[in-house]
């Protein structure tokens, strides 16, 4: 028993950063991970919905543009995308705007959140447009026959159904998004993984630090999966093979 208490004692020591205990350091990391994830999830959902709908519209130009959007964000590694937004974009913009961008407080946090959001939006777009095209053609036709405009047929007929179909894959995208938020550490955001590394570099208790981070990710994952399962039961379309 003493051994276990001893093993955990490192978490209650004052951290070298002077902000509190090491447990607190990790919780701050978790908080940043969650904040990045929430912003990124909103960005991914909004942009993914817009681009996903565009991919199914009749206009060839709109389709091609949204296709290019998806290919761009899908074929470049997330890490490289973050570098593009963080290091490259301010250099390419006109001087004044670039300078302003570099001086925005917490610019690395916002870059990570929006970069991760855009990266994930391409995946959301693919899922959503696949769901829309997987629906029976008759639905769109019936909507048109009833005299609905394209916009109305999307908001009243196609999308309410598509979002319900796409819910389970979006859940796993959300879990991916949370894991991917750790890439933010490459541009200096002390999210959960980085805060474990910081704790490690101050204390040399690598095992404890990484174990703590691992457990937190595990609990986070299990919690979100459980919550999403609950919601999934409510939104699953009866008669479709999504609910198990």
């Amino acid at each position: 028993m003493d051994k276990i208490v001893d093993w955990f004692s490192i978490f209650w020591q004052e951290s070298a950063e002077g902000t509190g205990t090491y447990a607190y350091t990790l919780l701050l990391g978790l908080q940043l991970t969650l904040e990045i994830s929430v912003i990124a999830a909103v960005v991914a959902f909004v942009m993914g919905s817009i681009v996903g709908v565009c991919r199914t519209l009749p206009s060839p130009l709109v389709r091609r543009l949204s296709g290019a959007y998806v290919e761009f964000f899908r074929n470049i590694p997330l890490l490289v995308q973050l570098f593009l937004w963080y290091f490259v974009l301010p250099e390419l913009l006109p001087r004044d705007i670039g300078m302003w961008l570099k001086q925005v407080p917490h610019s690395n946090f916002y870059t990570a959140a929006f970069g991760l959001g855009l990266f994930t939006s391409s995946r959301v777009a693919v899922q959503l447009s696949a769901a829309i095209t997987s629906m029976p053609r008759g639905q769109k036709m019936a909507a048109t026959a009833l005299g609905l405009t394209t916009r109305q047929s999307y908001t009243n007929v196609l999308l309410p159904m598509a979002y319900r179909i796409v819910f389970p894959p979006l859940t796993s995208e959300l879990l991916n998004l949370i894991k991917n938020s750790s890439v933010a550490l490459t541009i200096g955001v002390a999210e959960l993984t980085q805060s474990a590394r910081n704790m490690d570099s101050y204390t040399f208790q690598t095992f404890q630090a990484f174990t703590a981070a691992t457990l937190i990710y595990l609990v986070l994952n299990i919690t979100i999966t459980a919550v999403m399962r609950r919601i999934e039961h409510g939104v699953a379309v009866p008669g479709m093979l999504v609910a198990k």
Binding site: E71, F72, R74, N75, I76, P77, L78, L79, V80, Q81, F83, L84, F87, V88, E91, L92, L175, K179, N180, S181, S182, V183, L185, T186, T193, A196, R197, T206, F207, F210, A213, T214, Y217, L218, L220, N221, I222
Partner: protein
């Protein structure tokens, strides 16, 4: 916008970027894909075996690894592998291991989880009658798997396996955090040395894009080519 763009920096760096960086990245990708598929297939077979406790072990491994960020797993392995090697050899201190080898172990074990889910879907998509017919003919479990189930599962899932390999190719860029000399690592180092990060990162993004895009188009064509109409 591009008035200060220095193409010469990129041209000068080309041999180093490709002969060392890209070779590292591609070698890591291909070997990790091969080992990942092998280990992933084993995991899938364990999960479907129904022999206690194999499905539980494989399932726990898959769910555990799947809920962790790859970066954390990379840090874990670069910390742990020298200690494991020490235990295995019985040496008095942790043994420094070649970073490429450590990266290969990490990516193989990590990606195996995703390959195993793909192989599991591939095996389950086959009609049950095939396995039953195999047993009825007197084949053993190994024979049924090796001669009937796995070849078909593998063939049907080849496009998905290759798509996962493209994801793996992009994921290997994360070894940047250990400042290894993969493609992105070298691009970053040269960019920092010459104060030309803009050029190097744009070029790196372009190269990653072209390779991934070309590969995914090729996979799409292969998919149309190999699809079995049922």
């Amino acid at each position: 916008m591009f008035s200060n763009f220095d193409f010469q920096v990129i041209i000068d760096a080309l041999p180093y970027l490709f002969l060392q960086g890209m070779v590292f990245t591609l070698k890591l990708t291909l070997l990790a894909a091969i080992f990942g598929t092998i280990f992933g297939t084993v995991l899938a077979l364990m999960r479907l075996s129904g022999v206690w406790p194999l499905p539980q072990i494989a399932g726990a491994y898959v769910n555990f690894v799947r809920s962790l960020p790859l970066l954390l797993v990379i840090f874990w392995f670069f910390f742990l592998v020298p200690f494991i090697a020490q235990k295995m050899v019985g040496s008095p201190r942790p043994i420094p291991i070649d970073p490429f080898l450590t990266a290969l172990i990490t990516f193989s074990l990590f990606e195996a989880v995703f390959f195993s889910e793909i192989m599991r879907a591939g095996i389950q998509s086959l009609p049950k009658g095939q396995v039953a017919a195999g047993y009825a003919l007197g084949l053993s479990y190994t024979q049924v798997m090796r001669r009937i189930v796995l070849p078909q599962a593998f063939r049907n899932m080849l496009p998905v396996l290759l798509t996962q390999t493209i994801v793996l190719f992009q994921d290997t860029s994360l070894v940047y955090v250990l400042s290894l000399n993969d493609f992105l690592g070298i691009a970053g180092k040269i960019g920092q040395r010459d104060g030309r990060l803009t050029e190097m990162y744009i070029f790196a993004a372009l190269v990653y894009f072209l390779i991934s895009f070309a590969a995914s188009q090729a996979v799409r064509r292969l998919q149309a080519h190999t699809a079995i109409i049922r």
